[in-house]
Symmetry: D2
Subunit: 309 residues, 4 copies
Amino acid sequence: MDAVRERAFRHKDAAMIGRTHGVHAEPMTFGLKLALWHAELQRQLARLDCARATIAHGKLSGAVGAFSHLPPEVEEAVCAKLGLLPAPVSSQILQRDRHAEVMTTLALVAASLEKFATEIRALQRTELREVEEPFGSGQKGSSAMPHKRNPVGCEQVAGLARLVRANALASLENVALWHERDISHSSVERVIVPDSFLALDHMLARFTRIVKGMTVDEARMRKNLDLGRGLVFSGRLLLELTARGMRREDAYRVVQGHAMEAWKSEGDFRERVTHDPELRAVMSESEIADVFRLDRYLTHVDAIFARVF
Amino acid sequence: MDAVRERAFRHKDAAMIGRTHGVHAEPMTFGLKLALWHAELQRQLARLDCARATIAHGKLSGAVGAFSHLPPEVEEAVCAKLGLLPAPVSSQILQRDRHAEVMTTLALVAASLEKFATEIRALQRTELREVEEPFGSGQKGSSAMPHKRNPVGCEQVAGLARLVRANALASLENVALWHERDISHSSVERVIVPDSFLALDHMLARFTRIVKGMTVDEARMRKNLDLGRGLVFSGRLLLELTARGMRREDAYRVVQGHAMEAWKSEGDFRERVTHDPELRAVMSESEIADVFRLDRYLTHVDAIFARVF
Amino acid sequence: MDAVRERAFRHKDAAMIGRTHGVHAEPMTFGLKLALWHAELQRQLARLDCARATIAHGKLSGAVGAFSHLPPEVEEAVCAKLGLLPAPVSSQILQRDRHAEVMTTLALVAASLEKFATEIRALQRTELREVEEPFGSGQKGSSAMPHKRNPVGCEQVAGLARLVRANALASLENVALWHERDISHSSVERVIVPDSFLALDHMLARFTRIVKGMTVDEARMRKNLDLGRGLVFSGRLLLELTARGMRREDAYRVVQGHAMEAWKSEGDFRERVTHDPELRAVMSESEIADVFRLDRYLTHVDAIFARVF
Amino acid sequence: MDAVRERAFRHKDAAMIGRTHGVHAEPMTFGLKLALWHAELQRQLARLDCARATIAHGKLSGAVGAFSHLPPEVEEAVCAKLGLLPAPVSSQILQRDRHAEVMTTLALVAASLEKFATEIRALQRTELREVEEPFGSGQKGSSAMPHKRNPVGCEQVAGLARLVRANALASLENVALWHERDISHSSVERVIVPDSFLALDHMLARFTRIVKGMTVDEARMRKNLDLGRGLVFSGRLLLELTARGMRREDAYRVVQGHAMEAWKSEGDFRERVTHDPELRAVMSESEIADVFRLDRYLTHVDAIFARVF
């Protein structure tokens, strides 16, 4: 989390295009993306704390939980020695909803890491190249293709999330044991508990190294942002037009028309709208220029950072 | 939960056999079983509270979360009106780890209900018949077999847990959306969110009715407890023998020998051990009789209830 | 499978009560249960054959599947040497739907073993004791409770099915790789493929030993069958009454009335109906006696065996 | 499948960059990608046929499968009328491994559609824009951002695969019913069977429309292919150098050096290597030019098509 925070502040104002559906939407900054990760990790940390408190219980209540041969005081003393709380009531074992909470929490954490890793994988695509996970100077990206630098670390993180997720499921099936216990959960737990902890530990360690060492190409971010030559400001243009009294339907039709045309021909959207008489009837050239000011999109970044950190 | 508590107290001292691996283990009470359910439901309630707090957030931060067209103050005011907290940072949407926490929590609750329902299904088996879910006077257990009274309510509860569990998994796959959102989660959520809430609501309502109306046959419980004619006290006998100086290996060998013999022939275990000279060398007849006192197994039930309730 | 077949024939005519919802339904034989297992294993074997054929493919088509540097003939020759078929088309890798078919097939097989194991676990319950998994002469069922003989082998088989099932799910998530391959599947497969094969191999070996060595107590089966003192014949009584012209509603009411009464009081159902004047009005004593003939329930066992084996 | 085939042939020779890890790898054609989809759909179709044959069975064997009240001949006659095969042996119900095979098969099909949809989503990214799912002339991509055209159809297909996958899991849990049946599977099947069939039917219909109507921008494909100015031919250069006697380590070092430099500076890889004296020592300018011939990468496309179709 420290690595994410450090990077978030470093790239707080690095303007980049925000993407929805994989398609350019509106400007944002890379720091904002990382602030969102940080807030998500804070939630995950809180969940892990809960799960830890749930599982840190012990029991010494006998074969069916009735304290047949030892009084509850012994359980309390032993648990205290082990730094555990005694389960208020137990069968032959601690109830497996506790373990399932731990395992589903691990799966939740893994799912967040999967999201972050998927983001970097996407940003490292050849056509985007905004972020690149660390690549050692002597490293081979591919034995057959010398030009390759692949986000294999992030791919591994994304993959392992599937494993941790699947294990969580098995843990949920372990809850409904028969009567005061059957041992069907045991073989499952011997696999899924160490595997999920090991996998998540590895994912966290590897992802931390990636965040610390990743190359962030702010120039490419800016270049990609400008790729649509103004297209991404179409939303604000729409708002300004309606604010000036144009009917929303009309505004949408005109703006979408130019947007689609610019998109198809890879033409200059800003150029087009600046010279459209219907738009110029309600907005001056300088007012239109104002629509395309990037800084107006980023004014609230500091406020968001103040909320998160 | 009130129904479980009420029943727990009503059957607090109803002696029954505790079972591990489906096999008779040691005596306990039916109230103890219900106290364990109550404690588990308390944990589930706490989890639901957490999940509710996590999900009760709103966002109005624009297409990519940068508050491009509206300041954070508007978000705060709108959320306040809706009784929601504003997400400190968001993309086009609330991050789906929140929803996944809700869905996995529902799966945890469902898994507990599955466990309780499985317990009743087992106790309603013809050979056990200790508990029976409510059966209306005009109800048909089976159209073809007029003698049947089936735990169909508990079977339904157990089955639906599988559905809620599966849906939780899909919710975990919804976390890793692309960039500032893609809409792949939407079709999934339209199905799994209502289905899981509806299923769990139904499960809770139905299971509450079952707990309220179930027939608990304390006489049958006692009869089943005595089925092994003393076998279930073998653990205490072992302890008493070793406490009196017999080597544990010897004690185990002798006691297991009688136990297995009694088991095979459906003979009287107590009778056998009372007349075994090797045992009688270290324990008097009245000391052996003491081993078979049921009340010694149940002395801590009140203490457990004091912990839980 | 051979073990199941051998046991099926050995217990072909061992009468036992069939149970639905855990409740006594109608008579059947233990061999019939095993014949059903055999037929299910035959289906699983066919599925494994399919999956094996699907996965026994190779590829040597280069980095993206276009055979950039080697002609298809080399692929064909190499695959032939390895006893594989060449995939007609591939990307950098064999497509992962093939692996997912294998993994879901393993999960299907595991689910059947889980069913069989659950059956034995139930039949080994203290109150049923119809079947018992093998128990070594020097084995300890429980260190604390010398009388215990637990179906721990079947519990392990049932538990491991959860693991194989969960792994199948992860394999389905591995199908949708990016473009000509990303490597996110690799870390997952390194865990789930060996784990599922090892787990299932162990399950099959252990379950085979259990089937070979299990103790089948045909006397107890018969005893449990008679537990309801004729109750389980209520379905046939109903049919005979309606065949003799009694309205089905009337027949159901009368028969259910006696059945419920006999159930509650653990009384003798056959006794009751034999002396009911309403029934005797349409059936003679010997006709009623005929209803309770066990052999009439088992006449088609041979026909079923002929179908399966 | 017809739509995929038709498109495959239409774009058989449309050169595009093949991508591994999201990063440019080597040239291929768009038709090749579709041929791979077609082969995968053929496998899925075969699986569906198998699953259909497995499930097309009936039973009329009574309450526990022993044909207590009706002979097997009636079952055979009724099944024949319904176009079903009689299950060779059954309990109260058809065994649920049959249903689980159907449900896992649906999940396999859904996973393939998820893969195809994910491909189109990626190719529709603003920076790639090689393929676009159909977009109606009056359609709004986004109410707030008039310039947007989002792959929402493919996102929906990808999302629904999660649902079908989760349902398959629940179906696997339905296999291990108790004895001759318990009804816990019923509530689950009432949800998952129609939901999975409906979801997959919708996915197939929607994806077919997408394949039929998608815009394939072959010019953009070619433009993206040339983006790295020759980088993607580095693999062949490596091969040619070693074929001419250069040690592989040396060749890799030199080629990777140029590749990394060209990558970093977005410079011209071909230009660099053509003027490298170390390379020119073993290859003439025309030999190097030959390395960058696209057609040499695509010579085997027809052979692959001949295999698939």
